[in-house]
Symmetry: C2
Subunit: 415 residues, 2 copies
């Protein structure tokens, strides 16, 4: 039996036990885990420093080095994250629905854990802690598979968490890390459909491609966000400028940042100069269609490729559209179904946009940047789903569960 | 562009339109479709007769010939199925949840169609009609891919339905059939993740294997049912006999039929002779563990393989277990997570079984045969999911939908 097979078997057995552990026991384990991280802070920081040094030796770029690096503030963030989970309601056991059939059968649909969840992720060691905490709180066992650049950090973090959880009576195999970083191990995890209930990849296009090609385990894709803001002819232009500025500038590197601004032709001559000045001050590079460039002469010509690009940077594509038909058609063609916004004071326009735009999150008069588990009030987030099956949009504890039907009878047989 | 690519592109465009079609218009189309089937009954039966004749020439076994054959009663069943959908509530537009955030954002989670759904199925032409109706009612476009043995029936059925729907203003591409029956076309459909939101395969192990190996589209597996009934020491034995008899005998060929009977050692000497006599009269072949065979001398010895076999036939494996621990361990090892039942009058035993057994449907004192969309009161059924993501257990109209978040603001930007 391979090492990965041993891990997923043990994980699946741990998941069976974890499914019936009480909320109190899980909360107690989360507190023990938080305390253990604090107690082991020096050792964790030392292991992380080794990863960082090795990364620098290997020429890892500064962004990745930054993501990899733990500091006291980030350590505190991980510990606080675990403690925040304690205060959140346990999703397990919620009765989602229930009814009585004419033959007297009582059917209840009850929220239960998924079982064993696989998480494949890159560079950020805080995912190790976040994912372990979220899975534990929702009654799931987890198999973690982080990137090779963070392997020392991930080993000490997962071992610390697993030992602490075990001290509170949680099976140690409820939190496991695949300690080998070769590709074959990741692929074996993706194909362990007999033991793993769901796989949540958190990474770039090459990881997603590998998942699509190899996975037999059902997957929840945390995908790309090519997000748009459409400024309608009936928009309050000051509000539109605030929203368009926030959606691009507040944190350009994240998936809910706007990548293309669509502006109704009627108000483009008034709106574009207004917002262009603010973008210029923030250092945003603008790429525009021909009509945009007639109004903002400094904008670079946008190519067809720009409409499909998730810049994740201080760059923005701008297109002037004839009407809402063209705006919606543009979003359908180029959007990734993540977050789309309209700014308008027209009731019909708002209604039509929310109905016809097919995305996880459709906004009226607000910034796309709110697509986030914490901003939605979930109190936690494991990712943002870009697919339609199972979960769509920000995923919190509920999205780490499934349900089962419990049917109580008194001797019913089927005719 | 390949034929399949053209179909999925057209289907995806039709899905966008269908998503905003009113319930009245969809119901009108369902009535037109039902009427069109009635009007074309002779032509449909003639095409089906050709399929049946070809099937017999090709040596198709009698069970498959039976599944393939349409007769006036089955025609009426398909037509009635479409009309029944008219009376069911439209799932689209239901507000599943809604709340206001401290910053004033109003978040609503709203049920919407999945988009374009692919259905890959075998022999039964009624699936063509059922799936087209269910997808239309839930606002989804559908791409159907039936088996080669039913191709003439499926072509005329899907064309009749598509034309009828178009007469009621539904885009004709809302219902499409892949008319080529080569394997490459099916694989291309499985890999059309850009256009197809979900794939629902309905078929045997070789189809499921091909899906796991090839699909990049998210899949809802309608899988195997190795279902158990556990007769506890505290069971009402007459009730247990009725349930165990019904679960095996009422329709042995379906996934919710019982395949293994687990009997507590304490009551086995009283219960097994009782039920064995009834099984004998019904012609059920019994395969038992050693202790079973001491009580039922006529039983064939059961091998380890029997515990894993879904007979789908008048055969039953029987095992005497020491206690509930052993019963639950057996189900964990051999069950497929479909439907599991306990018969008991002991409160603690019932509670423990429903909590610790991990299956889509867990029964107390009722037959596993009730795992069915109609028996659950859904009014329709597209299949029974054996996976944990998205949908679990019987799937009706709700399970053919996803949700989107609509967020209404008045200028909110993220800090």
């Amino acid at each position: 039996m391979s090492k990965v097979e041993q891990l997923v078997r043990d994980g699946a057995t741990a998941a069976q036990k974890l499914a019936t552990v009480s909320s109190d026991a899980k909360n107690c384990a989360l507190e023990t885990m938080a305390t253990a991280l604090e107690a082991s802070a020096d050792a964790i920081m030392a292991a992380n420093a080794e990863d960082v040094a090795r990364g620098k030796d290997n020429g890892l770029n500064p962004t990745l080095i930054d993501r990899l690096t733990l500091n006291p503030k980030r350590m505190k963030g991980m510990v606080d994250g675990l403690r925040q989970l304690i205060g959140l309601p346990d999703p397990v056991g919620t009765v989602l629905d229930g009814w009585r059939r004419p033959n007297g059968l009582e059917i209840a649909r009850i929220r239960v854990p998924l079982g064993l969840i696989g998480i494949i992720y890159e560079s950020r060691p805080n995912v190790t802690v976040d994912a372990a905490g979220l899975c534990l709180k929702s009654g799931n066992a987890v198999i973690l598979r982080g990137g090779s650049e963070a392997i020392r950090s991930n080993i000490i973090l997962s071992q610390t968490l697993s030992r602490a959880a075990a001290q509170s009576g949680i099976p140690p195999a409820a939190i496991q890390l695949i300690e080998t970083t070769d590709r074959a191990a990741a692929i074996e995890l993706m194909r362990s459909d007999r033991y793993v209930s769901a796989l949540i990849p958190r990474g770039g296009p090459s990881l997603l491609h590998s998942i699509l090609e190899n996975a037999t385990v059902p997957v929840i894709i945390d995908g790309a966000g090519n997000c748009h803001t459409y400024v309608d002819s009936a928009a309050d232009l000051a509000m539109a400028a605030d929203i368009a500025y926030n959606a691009k500038v507040s944190r350009p590197s994240v998936c809910n940042a706007m990548e293309t601004l669509l502006v109704h032709a009627e108000i483009a001559p008034r709106f574009l100069p207004l917002i262009a000045a603010r973008y210029r001050d923030a250092g945003v590079e603008l790429r525009g269609c021909d009509r945009t460039r007639q109004i903002i002469p400094g904008a670079v010509p946008a190519s067809e490729e720009d409409w499909d690009t998730e810049y994740l940077d201080l760059k923005l594509a701008i297109r002037v559209v004839e009407d809402m038909d063209q705006a919606i058609a543009h979003i359908r063609k180029h959007g990734t179904g993540h977050s789309e916004a309209i700014v308008t004071d027209d009731y019909q326009a708002a209604e039509r946009f929310t109905q016809e735009v097919d995305a996880a999150c459709v906004y009226v008069n607000a910034s796309t940047r709110f697509t986030d588990g914490f901003e939605f009030g979930f109190g936690a987030e494991i990712g943002i789903s870009n697919q339609k099956l199972h979960a769509r949009g920000p995923m919190g504890l509920n999205e780490l569960t499934t349900y089962k039907y419990v049917i109580r009878g008194n001797g019913q047989v089927r005719q």
